[in-house]
């Protein structure tokens, strides 16, 4: 069960802004999904090691040499706002801070 207060808290963590209607809907839907997921408690996993990747993953190393990176101008073509070859963002604090 996940109540509306929790939904708002989670939305905040995820940087999402939800309308009051969204909060109601998500509270119901997420609760339903979590109820379904509780099925997993039927399985005994006490002694089981968790698996993150299904194939053996190991560190892949390469020689420490300089290689070409993406063209800065081309990368910045997608930037919503840019200045002096950098991304520009709104100010971090409000005026009164």
């Amino acid at each position: 069960m996940i109540n509306e207060k929790e939904v708002k808290y989670i939305a905040d963590l995820a940087n999402l802004k939800l309308s009051d209607d969204d909060v109601k809907t998500f509270s119901k839907q997420l609760s339903d999904i979590l109820d379904y997921v509780e099925k997993l408690d039927e399985l005994d996993t006490e002694e089981i090691t968790p698996t993150a990747y299904t194939v053996p993953v190991k560190n892949v190393l390469r020689e420490d040499k300089v290689e070409d990176s993406l063209d800065i101008e081309k990368v910045l073509q997608n930037a919503p706002e840019k200045i002096n070859n950098q991304f520009r963002v709104p100010k971090i604090m409000d005026e009164d801070n």
Binding site: N15, L16, P50, A52, V55, P80, P90
Partner: protein, 480 residues
């Protein structure tokens, strides 16, 4: 026969024998797209840089794909062709580089003709979650094509591309292939590079081909598999020539039929069609046996924890800073983040980010995420154990044939469409969906073969044999 109806294998042969001009192939497909895509809506963007008039065989001499056209799901980065993930967030995003699979196709002489529609960020099973428009199933005008690679499946089914690439996180290649009457293969996790594939759930995502026959699947697998210095999860090993396994021979195959899957409640026509195919495989010399396996509902439950957790982390990058949408008129940085994400993400994406954030949040991690990772071990061990005795496991691809547009409104109801495909991603194994019949409404039914890690060749041989044995001779869907 019109050129657009030909398979990749046919077209390559015709080009080899100089019976056709490359230009004419592209013209036929381009004309086909113009005539049927306004109705099917498989494509989000076309590649406008192709100069059909000046395409010559000479330019593609000694290449593997000889200049033939390929459609690609719109979550694979294409240099200078928009890559939208069917999301408002990336509506105008033009990647500055190619995904590794795109580079491989280009090196092999393939031409990317367009980017196909999908559920936003690959989250969905019907392509209705596209922020732009839903795609229509060529087999029924009020039916979904499945998802999330619905545009790729519909494009191939309707003859708008001989083959297409899709991506599969919980069934997103196989389920639409099944709904649209085409073949779709999800390779072993790690067989195909994910570099440049827009990430949804990184431990489950895998790129694979959709085509109208198994021959073309083998050809495309030869092009796209292989290790990549830009993807450390991509496994460095010898990948075989998959076309060598296009053999009609199942005599040495031992195939398991999972009791727990067939005991579930699913469409009776799907059941009888799949069982009829099993009988034919047995008659052709395969050994078929009932087996026990962890129920698919547990895999589905684990999937919705693992996939959403990874998605919530992967999608944190969409903040309006470097690329994609940025909300206007935000007063400060934090407001810009939330406004951008509010405007850029659709409902299903928000729902999954919420769920993923919840299961990873303090106090719930052990109960949900860790538990799901342990269940993943159980499911993987289960398959590994079965594959000691069996070559392949067989099941339906989907519990029903293509459902109606707008029919499934409840998220859980939609998630259940992936019940038979999800365990494969959880275990990281390869699986193929091939058509095995039609229901009384004329909608295709799909059968799924699952194999051990990195044994795609077994899937290809069995699927090829089944294709020959069933001899469905699938006509083109009648498009009005």
């Amino acid at each position: 026969m019109e050129l657009y109806k030909r398979t990749l294998t046919d077209l390559l042969k015709m080009l080899d024998e100089k019976r056709v001009k490359l230009k004419d192939i592209h013209e036929s497909l381009s004309y086909r797209i113009k005539s049927v895509d306004p109705k099917i809506k498989a494509f989000v963007n076309q590649n406008k840089d192709i100069d059909i008039e000046n395409l010559t065989e000479e330019n593609f001499k000694d290449t593997y794909l000889k200049g033939l056209p390929i459609a690609v799901k719109d979550n694979m980065s294409t240099d200078n062709i928009k890559t939208t993930c069917s999301s408002k967030m990336l509506e105008n995003y033009s990647p500055p580089y190619n995904a590794t699979v795109i580079e491989k196709i280009k090196k092999a002489g393939g031409i990317i003709t367009g980017k196909t529609n999908m559920d936003e960020f690959a989250m969905g099973s019907s392509t209705e979650n596209s922020a732009f428009f839903p795609t229509v199933n060529p087999w029924g005008e009020n039916r979904v094509p499945g998802g999330s690679s619905g545009g790729s499946a519909a494009a191939v089914a309707a003859g708008m591309a001989p083959v297409a690439l899709g991506s599969d996180t919980g069934g997103s290649i196989r389920q639409p292939a099944s709904f649209c009457g085409v073949v779709g293969l999800k390779p072993t996790y790690g067989a195909v590079s994910r570099y440049g594939l827009v990430a949804f759930a990184s431990s489950l995502d895998q790129i694979g081909p959709l085509a109208r026959n198994v021959d073309d699947i083998a050809l495309m697998m030869n092009v796209i598999t292989g290790s990549d210095k830009n993807d450390s999860t991509c496994v460095n090993r010898e990948y075989p020539d998959y076309t060598k396994y296009l053999k009609n021979d199942v005599k040495d195959f031992k195939i398991g039929i999972p009791n727990q899957y067939f005991e579930m409640d699913f469409d009776s026509e799907v059941r009888s069609s799949v069982m009829a195919a099993v009988d034919k495989l047995e008659a052709a010399g395969a050994e078929v046996q009932r087996v026990d396996i962890t129920g698919a509902e547990y895999a589905l439950a684990a999937y919705y924890i693992i996939a959403t957790a990874e998605a919530s982390s992967n999608l944190a990058r969409y903040d309006g800073v470097r690329y994609g949408l940025r909300a206007k008129n935000a007063n400060n940085l934090s407001e810009m983040f939330t406004e951008t994400r509010q405007q850029g993400f659709g409902e299903e994406v928000k729902r999954r980010i919420m769920l993923g954030t919840y299961v990873l949040s303090s106090g719930y991690y052990d109960d949900f995420y860790l538990k799901a990772q342990k269940v993943r071990t159980l499911i993987k061990n289960d398959f590994d154990k079965l594959f000691k005795d069996f070559d392949l496991i067989l099941s339906p691809t989907t519990p029903t044939t293509a459902f109606k547009l707008g029919e499934k409104r409840d998220p859980l109801d939609m998630y259940a469409a992936d019940i038979f495909t999800v365990p494969v991603n959880i275990a990281g194994i390869p699986a193929i969906s091939i058509p095995c019949g039609f229901d009384k409404n004329g909608l295709p039914i799909g059968l799924q073969l699952m194999g051990p890690h990195f044994k795609e060749e077994k899937l290809i041989q069995a699927a090829y044999s089944l294709e020959k044995i069933l001899n469905l001779n699938i006509e083109y869907p009648k498009l009005k």
